[in-house]
Amino acid sequence: MLDNNITEIKESFYSDIKSVSSMKDVEEIRIKYFSRNGLVSQLFEDLKDVVKEEKPILGKKLNLLRNEVSSYFEEVKERISSSSSGKENEIDLTLPGNNYIVGSKHILTQTLDEIKSIFKGLGFSVANGPELESDYYNFESLNFPADHPARDMQDTFFVSKDFLLRTHTTPVQIRLMEKQAPPVRAIMPGRVYRNEAVSARSYCMFHQVDGIYVDTDVTFAELKGTLVSFAKQFYGSDLKYRFRPSFFPFTEPSAEMDITCYLCHGKGCKICKNSGWLEILGCGMVDPNVFKFVNYDSEKYTGYAFGMGIERIALLKYGITDIRIFFDNDLRFLKQF
């Protein structure tokens, strides 16, 4: 009798559980079979009435049944509860994750980082210098004679007769050469100031990277090689470039380096003023007069120097049209980089 019941209940359990599709169904099965008055418990109740001789066998059978169905039940329950078709316990994975804000460096710092890492790879050190400079370091030692129109190239903020806000990072070249004998190979990033009306195209303060390499036998050809290597690493290896004669008091010969306009690819557009070229840096061979100021023998040593504006590079690279946005520090801008 009980033996039959065991088989029956087993069959009924397997048939019931087949149609289980939700936790509600699972709960119904639990109540039907495994609750205190459930069918499985009832079988154990029934075992009490079985004759003594059959008890061990049936008891064993009953235990096997219970283990089998209950472990299968747990398995199904587990599957239902973790499956997405289990509606009661559904987790909405589409809700947003917790928002952790990672900060960021200013885009000008990031641009400078890129420039720095390229030059460090080319064997350059990195040096700093003060922003509040003497006339001597900013102009005189860089071969800008007093009362010379070359000074008009850099409108200057003065704090006194002899002190000013540096108009370029080039004075760090002098400071470096005063401290050490050749070879000198370093870049000098930093902030510079120009007494120019603030507009979308110019700001009274901006950033530059200067560079210098002095040793025996440094040539213009090497200057070209180094700067082309930099430009190709920074702007892409398919870049076209040209070196154009220019004038800086502290270099002779002097040059400006142009690259093909990234926007029109040389066809001519507003950004490049229809020339197809964009000026990216100024450079040249260190003027012997500069060597005189730092007591380097200009017959023995030659060197090249270069300088570039970081804002200009970032403006071009990210298509920013107004330089003032760099210094607005609007978080909506800062967060984009």
């Binding site: 050190s125 509040l132 129109p149 040793d215 090689g225 520090n329």
Partner: protein
């Protein structure tokens, strides 16, 4: 500077060379062509039109409906100019033509309901001048339908060239032509002068005396009598207009022509207005008022170089003439001045007066002392031709000390050493000769180069090397593509800054870059500011004394934009004045590199499963400590706490190294925040980064992870509110056994239920030993001992037991 190509071609034959090639060569030799205005392209669609009839526009008072004959058809054209009238010959822009000054194309259009089939042009629209007072009215004899390129002779090419300050020689057409002659290896043709002089001896008509021969080394004068002051001929007016000059009268126009031809500024005086017919060049002895020929009265400082006559000033030397001696319609006899002034003297005057003219621009860059005679004679010749003048016999040339060409030695080997490639000696000689330099071969490697006075920029061998390099073309310089490695140690002085930026951004801070130029009010918040002597504006008249006010400006701006949760940092220099007087040395001020961290508003934006958390002092303190641990300075610096306000902070802490304060920060006082219009709490911390960098960071050493279990105990005490956490913690550490390794607070609770002015502090104690497992007994003993001691020391009551 504007250069007319047709004018240039009078001095060098370039007829077989394309405009593109000329432009490219100039740019690639250092005379950068910034703009090319090719008239035959620009005006190719424009024709002469004939206005047959005009009538009022029915729907607009200011518009006129014109019937314009274009040589073939009558077209209806709407015109907005008031000077349009029937019978005029005008410049007509047919449909499809592009207007030069606006880059727009004329289309068939309806203007206020009436069809218009083209446009009648004004001078400014054609870039012929800046005149927009009305349409351009042409000679009535011109034939309708004729292209204006022919009718108005608009077939020139105008180049806008940027001349660097070292090249005064290139500030003229002959100067640019000289470079082109070298670039294309051609001859430079300089106009010859043929003068028909009358008998009158110049020495009897005028005299010149130089008192200040330092600032005026040479003064040349020519006199022309019986001149007819009138309008210049068309060719001369055209020539000046093309390069952006406004024609005035024949004499003034001729002086301008000669200036732009050969670079020598000239001035023409009305000879009869010069008292004693005399010129004296001298400097002012006292401050003087003087009216220049633009009718402006100017205050001249002492030591301004002046041109005077027998008893008064008549011109500011090298800058501008005076009204009292200028050429007018009544002028009969003129004195032409062609002088050489010392560059720095003219520059000083020009700067002091804020007055830059074509003349001063050239003199301050360095004109050619030895072209003065040529220029004066050239001018006299043209005055004779175009003003019917009679040139007086002879010339006055006061030139006490003749300035001779410089002689420089040039080594071919040095040229190679600088440029990195060899330019053939023959090529070098040719380039230098074409540039007007005289050469003499000294030996195989050496030339002696004589540099004419029109090239003041060439002073040394290196300057000659530059000339060779730029004329031969920088693109011909090879490129060395291998880099020499130097084995010396490389340094990076920005390395620590980078670490700091990494740590700050990892902690959620955004980097700002604020303008160090501030208003005095903002700058003096944190120190004695340095003033800018020539500021752009009052809000940028001082240098910042710390990064604080810049940060507060930024925070204020962002809050107004609706961004309220802010974590910002900046690395930058701050400046403090250390003297009461003028800054004369580097010790009169300090410049320190600072680091500022600022937080305000929500620390994290509220999410759907997270709570909003406002920034507070403890967040600031925690961030600063995390930040210091990232740069390995966490256990090196000592904190000091200040719970009473100073001028900036309501309360704050300082970070110190061996008694020296390296940074401070806390909660900003409301008064300060109000100054910046900020209405939420702000917490800032600012380090002197220069000082922080000098502190040796704790070097990292490895310790094994703990192998034995910890025993952890908690207790909480009810204490007086005045008892500080740190005091209890230090007491515990002092009194406990060596086995207690970590003491931390896990709960702070204040409530009246604890009693008035009471609080509860709950501590977690971690006991462990690196070499063995502890027994419960030894921990329990120490723990109970601590409870007894704390209870007694702080009048505390153990909670929950």
């Amino acid at each position: 500077m504007k250069i007319s190509l047709s004018w240039i071609k009078e001095f060098v034959d370039l007829n077989d060379i394309s405009i593109e090639e000329i432009v490219a060569k100039l740019t690639m030799s250092g005379l950068e062509v910034e703009d090319v205005l090719d008239q035959s392209k620009l005006y190719k669609n424009f024709i002469v039109g004939f206005v047959k009839t005009t009538e009022k526009h029915p729907n607009a008072d200011k518009l006129t409906i014109c019937k314009v004959f274009d040589g073939k058809d009558d077209l209806q054209v709407i015109c907005g100019a008031t000077n349009v009238s029937a019978g005029q010959k005008i410049v007509f822009a047919p449909i499809g033509s592009e207007i030069p000054n606006g880059n727009f194309i004329i289309k068939k259009a309806k203007i206020r309901g009436v069809e218009s089939n083209g446009m009648i042009c004004a001078e400014d629209e054609l870039l012929l001048s800046d005149d927009h007072s009305g349409i351009m009215v042409l000679n009535e004899n011109l034939e309708a339908g004729k292209p204006i390129i022919e009718a108005l002779n608009l077939n020139d090419v105008i180049l806008e060239i940027a001349i660097t300050p070292n090249r005064p020689d290139a500030l003229s057409h002959i100067g640019v032509a000289r470079d082109l002659a070298a670039l294309f290896d051609r001859d430079l043709i300089i106009p010859e002068i043929k003068l028909n002089e009358v008998k009158d001896d110049i020495k009897k008509l005028a005299s010149v005396e130089i008192e200040d021969t330092v600032n005026c080394p040479r003064y040349v004068a020519k006199v022309v009598k019986d001149v007819q002051i009138k309008e210049s001929p068309k060719w001369l007016k055209d020539r000046l207009e093309k390069i952006g000059l406004r024609p005035r009268n024949n004499i003034v126009d001729i002086t301008n022509l000669v200036l732009h031809e050969c670079g020598q500024p000239l001035h023409a005086f009305d000879l009869d207005k010069l008292s004693d017919h005399k010129i004296v060049v001298k400097s002012t002895k006292s401050e003087t008022n003087f009216t220049t020929l633009d009718s402006k009265e100017r205050k001249l400082p002492v030591n301004t170089l002046m041109i005077c006559d027998g008893n008064r000033e008549v011109a500011i030397a090298g800058v501008m003439g005076g009204e009292n001696s200028e050429i007018t319609e009544l002028t009969i006899n003129i004195l032409i001045e062609s002088a050489y002034f010392h560059p720095s003297s003219i520059r000083k005057t020009s700067k002091a007066l804020g007055l830059s003219t074509d003349a001063s621009y050239r003199f301050e860059r360095g004109s050619d002392p030895n072209i003065t005679k040529y220029a004066a004679e050239r001018c006299a010749q043209l005055v004779a031709e175009l003003a019917d003048g009679k040139v007086a016999n002879g010339i006055i040339d006061v030139y006490p000390e003749i300035i001779t060409p410089k002689e420089i030695e040039l080594r071919f080997s040095r040229t190679t050493k600088i440029l990195g490639y060899e330019v053939a000696p023959e090529k070098i000689k040719n380039i230098l000769s074409r540039l007007g330099l005289a050469i003499k071969v000294l030996d195989e490697d050496k030339l002696l180069v004589s540099v004419p006075t029109f090239r003041p920029d060439i002073e040394r061998e290196i300057d000659l090397i530059e000339e060779i390099a730029r004329i031969n073309g920088y693109n011909n310089i090879p490129m060395v593509s291998k880099i020499n490695i130097t084995l010396e140690q490389k340094t990076d002085e920005t390395e620590v800054d980078e670490k700091i930026r990494q740590a700050a951004t990892a902690l959620g801070f955004f980097e700002m870059i604020n303008n160090p130029l501030q208003s005095e009010n903002d700058a003096k918040l944190t120190g004695n500011p340095i003033r800018i002597a020539n500021p752009l504006s009052a809000d940028m008249e001082c240098l910042r004394t710390s990064l604080l006010s810049g940060a507060l400006i930024t925070i204020s701006k962002n809050i107004k934009q609706g961004v309220k949760g802010l974590k910002l940092f900046e690395i930058g220099d701050a400046f403090k004045k250390m003297t009461n007087g003028e800054i004369k040395t580097f010790s009169d001020f300090t410049e320190t590199q600072n680091l500022l961290l600022a937080i305000s508003g929500n620390e994290q934006n509220k999410g759907w499963n997270t709570e909003e958390k406002d920034s507070d002092f403890y967040l600031l303190k925690g961030l600063i400590n995390s930040f210091l641990s990232k740069i390995s300075l966490d256990n090196v610096l000592i904190d000091s706490y200040y719970s009473t306000a100073n001028e900036i902070y309501a309360y704050y802490l300082t970070k110190n190294f061996k008694e020296v304060e390296l940074g401070r920060g806390g909660k900003l006082k409301n008064e300060v925040l109000q100054q910046f219009d900020i209405n939420q709490n702000v917490y800032c911390f600012e380090f002197d980064l220069s000082a922080l960098k000098s502190v040796q960071s704790n070097s990292k050493t490895y310790t094994d992870p703990l192998k034995y279990p910890k025993i952890i105990r908690d207790f909480a005490f009810i204490l007086d509110n005045s008892v500080k956490y740190l005091d209890v913690k230090e007491f515990i550490k002092k009194k406990s056994s060596q086995l207690l390794k970590v003491v931390s607070v896990f709960d702070v609770f204040e409530s009246d239920s604890l009693g008035t002015d009471k609080k509860s502090l709950a501590f977690t104690l971690e006991y462990f030993d690196e070499s063995r497992t502890l027994t419960e007994e030894e921990v329990e003993k120490d723990f109970n001992n601590l409870i007894a001691l704390i209870t007694k020391e702080f009048n505390a009551q153990l909670r929950g037991k």
